[in-house]
């Protein structure tokens, strides 16, 4: 029924009478009037600084004739009879109308417009002039993004948008997809990831090349995001790719080469004899049986042969600088009718560890054709191919093996045979030697991504545009894990029979997932939408815009994984080369990518928006989206997501216009609306009978297939609902001298999906209900300043944002080392308070409170605070400790240019975040990990340290019992020079010799320095708990070149 309505509605639009296009003939359109020319005028267009402007549109007033200025700003026009004036228009300048007199040469200077007046911002299903925005939208241009060279677009947004928290997990090739969080966490049920749309269609921002992005808009409040309804609760990021511009065809080439080095690494003890001595002390303290023999220690101490008895520095050996190169070539241009942009990018990224290779290829083709004045069609094809080769262990798993390898042995036997060492002594604690991880095999991921679109714009009549788009997003992923047997040897133990280095199954771990595992998966997501836009002005003062549309999204995911373990030759890496003994379909293993079940989902939506402006001073906007999702049961499937917003342009009031001329813009904004989060799982409401792996063997013969119902499903389960209230102010003084944007928001999410306990007599598992509630409040402030002193241009900007969340309702509170409880931020640290080190006199009876988790403490153990003063340190002494979320995130930067020289610098910081981290690199001798040098100053009866416990082997009760204490909490606040760029644009005289239009070179640095208390590693990481070890973040030095022909 709904479909029928739309179809007939669309048909009606098509059949509008032809009178809607009065007096329209091909002759005029194609400028045949030139045959009747009687006069030629020439001239040159420049900007305020007398620089020539190319591609300025010059229209002979009253006609359809449009000319473009040339590369040097010059133009030559055949005037038709009766021509009265020329109209010059150009992006970013005021439109100028020049009356035609007897003169035949016209030199025109166009005045720059203040940015805020002309900026057009992409919003849901359309664009809006920035001045007319009523919601909280932040926009970033592609130019800003490419100021910083980095492989992943999403990471380039870091610090650029207030209220958008970006945490790059690491700089590991292909695994640097950041976590995006807009305005803080506001749910503990569904996903917290924002909706990302590329040219209006679902896609992955991580697949784009930075060079292909025209602009990015971040829709933060309900008013701007509500047009996306049930997908918008976590905010929306709209990415627009570069289109062609009419004018001469331009060829641009950009190359960037960067060198990556780790920002910070732990400082491990690398002297073997010292390591062994410290270990023996730690083992004695910790009650671990293995000790290094004193004779063996002496061999290391007095060694003359550094190969046989090395002091090996694994961090130094494995973490090397990596080279990353990025090339982009684009061809863009067009004429009055057709424009195009063809862009090809190539990224080759090495890792700071061996065994990796990452290559990314991007192709973008955007094509637009104005078939006539009424119809525009266009297409966009974006293709990405990523090829990621890695060791079988990646990320922190590889890094921790490097940490865990102590100094006692190198990767290879000293006999030059190339055989790998597993460790020095059979009984010492170890993980795999990193070289074993490289020897055992590899894994590879190949991802093909296609984003194809076609659209048509029809101007049905004046003011009414009908846009329709068909798009397909197709992701094809192929994953392979390949492992084969290998051998490794003990450096200091020889086989008595052969005299060779000892090996055998107890000497090394071997491959962890033998054989070949292949996985194919594909996701196909077709999207269709059709939008009608109407814009009109009534009685001069009333601006009205209205939009109505329909959208349908469907997505299907399929996957198959298979494994075979017995191959005839390690040279074979294809499944077909293996036998079927022990083969498995859809096998799971902790280190394989999670095995996803196949799924489908679909969304149908109707939406509308009305904008009303009165005299350009009072702006009102209302949005409505009506969404139906397959993820909710039919009875509850359709939901309404409304929003309203308003703005008052105070600066447009007559009073200001007349008296306060320096004030370009002062706007007060307010918005409120409802959004949904349908990322609640695909089949959360559905009662399904489980059939997999269930049978019953009637009569002890063949098992009969069985089907059971395992958990209760709430049929009324729905999306989570988020309401956002936002108040904002925009202020701009003349010519950008000072600008300010401020927002306050309150985001409340109710109906959060959470499990609810049920009576056991129900006989089914605990179901999920919509019953949680939490909120996030915060502020965002952006400050801008730009100025020009002679030829010196400069700008300064700064931003800061906060987002504080609080659980308002939770049915099953969680208490562990973190706590989920009403009134507290979700997942707050809940820890014992570390109170120094037990000294010898402390452990005398009665001197300190009894520690329940360490009932017989030794001097040198961790001491905890008896918070409630009851004489016992027990679970009741845990307290909420701030730091699970940052107090605020901020950034600031400046840019300046003078006669072609440019400098920009950009600082970014996080304040108040604390990570609880342990194990490798923190706890000495964790799987053999050497202590860091600070442990030389560990507690001993003589050295009464109150900051470092007595040295121990990881797992020792005196320390490990209080893993959930503030001892392990590290302050991850930081301020870093995220990026600095020095660039030079050659003068026209230079590059025009090589027939180029533009030529510039630059050097830049990333993460050049960081102010932080975080020791030995980088404070920026995605995980706030867990292992301290990580694949390092990188300090990057880049050189690059831009050239345009």
């Amino acid at each position: 029924m709904k479909c029928a309505l739309i179809a007939s509605g669309l048909a009606l639009l098509l059949n509008l009478p032809a009178t809607a296009s009065p007096g329209f003939t091909p002759e005029k359109k194609f400028g045949f009037t030139r045959w009747f020319q009687n006069r030629i005028v020439t001239g040159k267009v420049t900007n305020e600084n007398s620089e020539p402007l190319a591609n300025v549109s010059i229209q002979v007033k009253g006609t359809k004739n449009i000319y473009l200025s040339g590369a040097d700003g010059s133009f030559r026009i055949d005037l038709p009879p009766g021509a009265k004036a020329l109209v010059f228009s150009y992006t970013g300048t005021e439109t100028a109308e020049v009356a035609i007199n007897e003169q035949s040469v016209y030199n025109v200077s166009l005045t720059n417009l203040p940015n805020t007046m002309t900026d057009v911002v992409v919003v849901g299903y359309g664009t809006q002039r920035k001045i007319n925005l009523t919601g909280a939208v932040s926009a970033v241009t592609g130019k800003t993004l490419t100021e910083r060279p980095a492989p992943n677009v999403a990471n380039l947004l870091e610090g650029r948008v207030s209220g958008l928290q970006i945490t790059q997990p690491s700089s590991e090739p292909g695994r640097d997809n950041p976590n995006l969080l807009i305005r803080g966490r506001a749910t503990f049920g569904g996903s917290t990831a924002p909706l990302v749309l590329i040219d209006g269609v679902t896609g992955s921002i991580n697949n784009l090349s930075p060079d292909d992005i025209e602009s990015i808009s971040v829709l933060k409040d309900a008013a701007s995001a509500a047009i996306y309804g049930s997908r918008a609760a976590n905010g929306v990021i709209l990415v627009t790719t570069k289109k062609g511009r009419k004018g001469q065809t331009t060829v641009s080439y950009r190359v960037n080469v960067g060198v990556y080095t780790p920002t910070a690494m732990p400082d491990f003890i690398t002297n073997s004899a010292e390591y062994m001595t410290l270990y023996n002390a730690a083992a004695a303290r910790s009650g671990v049986a293995f000790r290094y023999d004193s004779a063996e220690i002496a061999k290391y101490k007095n060694a003359t042969d550094q190969n046989a008895y090395p002091n090996f520095d694994y961090v130094d050996y494995y973490f090397k600088s990596a080279v990353v190169s990025n090339h982009n070539i684009s061809l863009s241009g067009g004429n009055d009718r057709n424009t195009f942009n063809l862009s090809l990018s190539y990224l080759n990224q090495d890792a700071m560890l061996p065994g990796y290779s990452f290559k990314k290829y991007n192709g973008l083709f955007n094509y637009t054709s104005h078939i006539n004045d009424r119809i525009t069609i266009g297409t966009s094809m974006n293709l990405t191919y990523k090829d990621r080769q890695e060791p079988p262990f990646t990320s922190e798993n590889f890094a921790l093996a490097v940490y865990a390898a102590g100094p006692l042995y190198g990767p290879f036997l000293p006999d030059g045979s190339g055989r790998i060492v597993s460790r020095a002594y059979q009984a010492e604690g170890r993980n795999r030697n990193p070289q074993e991880m490289l020897a055992m095999g590899w894994q590879n991921t190949k991802e093909y991504n296609l984003n194809g679109q076609a659209y048509i714009d029809i101007k049905v009549f004046k003011g009414l545009t009908w846009t329709s788009k068909v798009a397909i997003n197709y992701v094809d992923e192929y994953y392979k894990m390949y492992q084969h047997p290998y051998s490794a040897y003990l450096l200091q133990q020889k086989d008595p029979a052969t005299g060779d280095y000892q090996t055998g199954s107890s000497a090394f771990f071997g491959p962890d997932y033998l054989g070949v595992t292949d996985q194919y998966s594909k996701t196909i997501t077709p999207t269709i939408y059709s939008v009608v836009n109407y814009e009109t002005k009534i009685a001069k003062d009333h601006d009205i815009k209205a939009l109505a549309g329909f959208e349908q999204v469907y997505s299907k995911f399929q996957t198959l994984r298979a494994r075979r373990l017995n191959g005839v030759s390690t040279a074979l890496t294809e499944l077909a080369g293996y036998t079927n003994t022990g083969e498995a379909i859809n096998a799971t293993y902790p280190r394989l990518p999670g095995l996803s079940a196949p799924y489908e989902w679909a969304l149908q939506s109707f939406f509308g928006r009305v904008n009303y402006g009165y005299k350009g001073r009072y702006l009102l906007e209302a949005n409505l989206r009506y969404d139906g999702t397959s993820r909710v049961s039919p009875d509850y499937r359709w939901g309404v997501f409304p929003s309203v917003s308003g703005a008052w342009l105070v600066s447009q009031e007559d009073f200001f216009n007349k008296n306060v001329s320096f004030l370009n813009n002062l706007k007060l904004r307010a918005s409120y609306g409802t959004l949904g989060n349908q990322e609640i799982g695909n089949y959360a409401y559905q009662n399904v009978v489980t059939v997999s792996g269930i049978s019953y063997p009637f009569g002890n013969t063949t098992p009969a297939q069985a089907a059971v119902l395992n958990s209760y499903k709430d049929q009324s389960l729905q999306w989570e609902t988020t309401r956002i209230l936002d108040f904002g102010v925009d202020l701009d003084l003349r010519k950008g001298l000072f600008g300010l944007t401020f927002d306050w928001f309150k985001k409340t999410t109710s109906d959060i999906l959470a499990s609810q306990p049920v009576p056991a007599s129900l006989g089914l598992g605990s179901p999920t209900f919509n019953n949680g509630k939490m909120e996030s409040r915060g502020i965002e402030l952006e400050l801008r300043h730009q100025n020009q002193i002679g030829a010196f241009h400069y700008g300064v900007n700064a931003q800061i944002s906060t987002a504080n969340n609080k659980v308002l309702d939770i049915k099953v509170p969680g208490i562990g080392t973190s706590i989920n409880q009403v009134g507290l931020p979700y997942g707050s640290h809940y820890l014992y308070i570390w109170d120094g080190i037990f000294q010898v006199e402390d452990t005398a009876a009665g001197k300190v409170p009894k520690h329940v988790l360490n009932p017989n403490p030794k001097p040198g153990d961790l001491k905890m605070k008896d918070v409630n003063g009851d004489g016992v340190v027990d679970a009741n002494d845990r307290v909420v400790v701030k730091g699970a979320y940052p107090d605020y995130i901020y950034s600031f930067g400046f840019n300046a240019d003078y006669k072609g020289f440019g400098i920009s610098a950009f600082f970014q910081g996080v304040q108040g975040l604390k990570n609880r981290v342990n194990n490798w690199g923190v706890d000495p001798f964790m799987q053999g990990t050497a202590p860091t040098t600070k442990w030389r100053d560990a507690w001993t009866p003589q050295n009464r340290s109150n900051t470092l416990p007595g040295i121990y082997v990881a797992g020792y009760t005196g320390v490990a019992a209080y893993g959930g204490s503030t001892y392990y909490l590290m302050d991850a606040s930081y301020l870093r020079l995220k990026n600095v760029v020095l660039s030079y644009t050659f003068p026209r005289a230079v590059f025009s010799k090589i027939k180029a239009k533009d030529l510039s070179i630059y050097v830049s640095g990333e993460n050049l320095f960081t102010i932080t208390k975080y020791e030995g590693s980088d404070p920026e990481r995605s995980s706030t708990t867990g292992n301290y070890v990580q694949y390092p973040q990188a300090r990057v030095l880049n050189v690059g070149l831009n050239v345009k022909f």
């Binding site: 179809a7 089949y683 059939v691 009637f698 007599s761």
Partner: protein
């Protein structure tokens, strides 16, 4: 609009329209890897899967092989705590309370999981395109299992919540409990339907008429409806579909259970099959071979060992055959067949390989019944082969229940002695007939029948409910201590288990049993 424009627009509209699915079910998406209840029950195959699903609930906790551990709550054996059934020993040593977690919860949740499956089946089977007769036969099997589950609940808790149907909402599941009498009436109703509709054939893995009759006999006996019990048990005896096995030991082993002369005694069991349905796969492969024969979880008390007669039919306190220096000689053969004695060496009967891997027993004894030494030496690999069925009901039980009912009804008579003698005279056991001069009164014969039951059914999970229905648990159990010297505790309120606090929280209408 020009013709060309119209054509272009129409073309695009056509593409758009072919893309937009106008069928209303674009939003109806079912998971591709499991079956939505909306489309299930469309065929007899679905019904059979649903039925197998109901039976599969029997493999969980005390409805399956772990039911033998109920003897750990009695004077038969000490049960070591294990991670699958935690806090079991606390239930016997005075810590039975609403806040106790672990095994206690399984007494409640396991039968209810079976009941939920039964009700789901019964509420939906009518949708299937099969005949009414077929439906009745399937329903009879399911109602038998529902009765089995409710019987467990009523014995453990007295009155409990009755669900006749699958709760349509969560609130419908939160209802007050029914009385004990109402639960028994409900069980009898289910069993009567089952008896009327199940086929009267030999047991084959599916419940048959005899299974339902035998269970009803046990229910009536528990209700002390002696006459009704005797009648229905007599019907089974005269029906002739079941007989005593010719091999007591083989009855509890995989091979024996597959032999006609042995399995003729089995009237209902939870069935297993290697390697798809071994006794336990999660969290790791295990089962009775491993848990009883290797980990030594259940360790028989001396008190039980002492109860086995001498081969002359006299107790050890009276028989001249008893030699304290050689206490295991000349004993009722069922002692050695049920218990690994201190001087005994276990060998794989096929390979003759010695299995000495068992953990040391604190009491000196290990359970041998249900341990299948043909799979020794036991490893985690043999664990996946552990598939002997747990027997809920066997013909010897019918005979002894008949004897008990008839004795309670009218005192000793020839049919009573005959029933007991049949069990004692089984081939390979050959114990002398009951001494009719010694056990000549109703009261004396009552004690003797109770003794015979303990010996015959040791480690089959019967003793706990037997002690409770005889109302002697609070007298007998406190006379014993655990190997660690902790006295066993069984107070008069312990005849009913406590509902766990979480259950009281989650069903506000539920009222706690007295004394907790």
């Amino acid at each position: 609009m020009t013709t060309k424009n119209k054509f272009l627009a129409a073309l695009f509209l056509f593409l758009l329209a072919t893309g937009i699915s106008c069928s209303k079910n674009i939003l109806d998406k079912n998971p591709p890897d499991s079956v939505s209840t909306d489309i299930f029950w469309g065929s007899e195959a679905d019904v059979q899967s649903g039925l197998a699903g109901v039976y599969s609930r029997l493999q969980q906790n005390f409805l399956g092989y772990e039911r033998v551990y109920l003897d750990g709550l009695t004077d038969n054996a000490f049960l070591w705590d294990n991670t699958n059934q935690t806090n079991f020993s606390l239930m016997t040593t005075g810590s039975l309370s609403a806040s106790l977690s672990g095994a206690l919860g399984n007494f409640y949740s396991t039968p209810y999981r079976a009941i939920a499956s039964c009700n789901y089946f019964l509420d939906n089977v009518d949708k299937a395109p099969i005949s009414d007769a077929q439906k009745s036969a399937y329903k009879a099997e399911v109602r038998f299992i529902r009765a089995l589950a409710y019987f467990d609940l009523v014995q453990a808790y007295g009155g409990v919540v009755i669900y006749r149907n699958f709760p349509s909402t969560l609130e419908a599941a939160k209802v007050p409990k029914s009385t004990k009498e109402q639960v028994y009436a409900f069980i009898e109703e289910d069993l009567d339907f089952a008896i009327a509709n199940l086929p009267d054939v030999k047991y084959n893995g599916h419940a048959v008429k005899g299974s339902a009759q035998g269970l009803k006999g046990r229910v009536l006996l528990t209700e002390q409806k002696w006459a009704d019990a005797a009648t229905i048990l007599q019907q089974i005896i005269s029906g002739g579909k079941f007989a005593l096995s010719n091999n007591y030991a083989a009855l509890f082993k995989t091979a024996g259970q597959a032999t006609a002369a042995v399995n003729t005694e089995i009237m209902f069991s939870t069935q297993y099959l290697a390697t798809t349905n071994p006794q336990r796969t999660s969290p790791g492969a295990a089962g009775m071979d491993i848990e009883l024969g290797w980990y030594s979880l259940m360790q028989p008390y001396q008190d039980l060992v002492n109860d086995y007669e001498m081969t002359d039919g006299k107790p050890i306190t009276e028989s001249p055959l008893y030699n304290p220096a050689n206490p295991y000689a000349n004993r009722d053969p069922r002692l050695d067949l049920s218990i690994k004695l201190p001087n005994e060496v276990w060998r794989n009967p096929n390979t003759n390989v010695v299995w000495a891997g068992s953990y040391t027993s604190f009491t000196g004894y290990l359970v041998e019944k249900y341990v299948d030494l043909t799979r020794a030496p036991f490893t985690t690999a043999t664990a996946t082969q552990t598939d002997q069925d747990y027997i809920h009901l066997r013909y010897a039980d019918v005979l002894l229940m008949y004897a008990e009912a008839k004795n309670e009804l009218s005192g000793p008579d020839a049919s009573v002695y005959n029933a007991i003698n049949q069990v004692r005279a089984r081939p390979g056991i050959n114990m002398p007939s009951v001494d009719q001069t010694k056990y000549n009164t109703q009261a004396k014969l009552r004690d003797y029948i109770r003794h015979e039951r303990r010996v015959e059914f040791a480690f089959e999970g019967q003793r706990y409910n037997d002690l409770k229905r005889w109302n002697i648990a609070h007298i007998k159990l406190p006379t014993l201590s655990t190997p660690a010297g902790k006295p066993l505790v069984f107070n008069t309120n312990n005849y009913l288990l406590p509902f766990q606090q979480s259950e009281l929280d989650n069903n506000p209408y539920l009222v706690q049993n007295p004394g907790y």
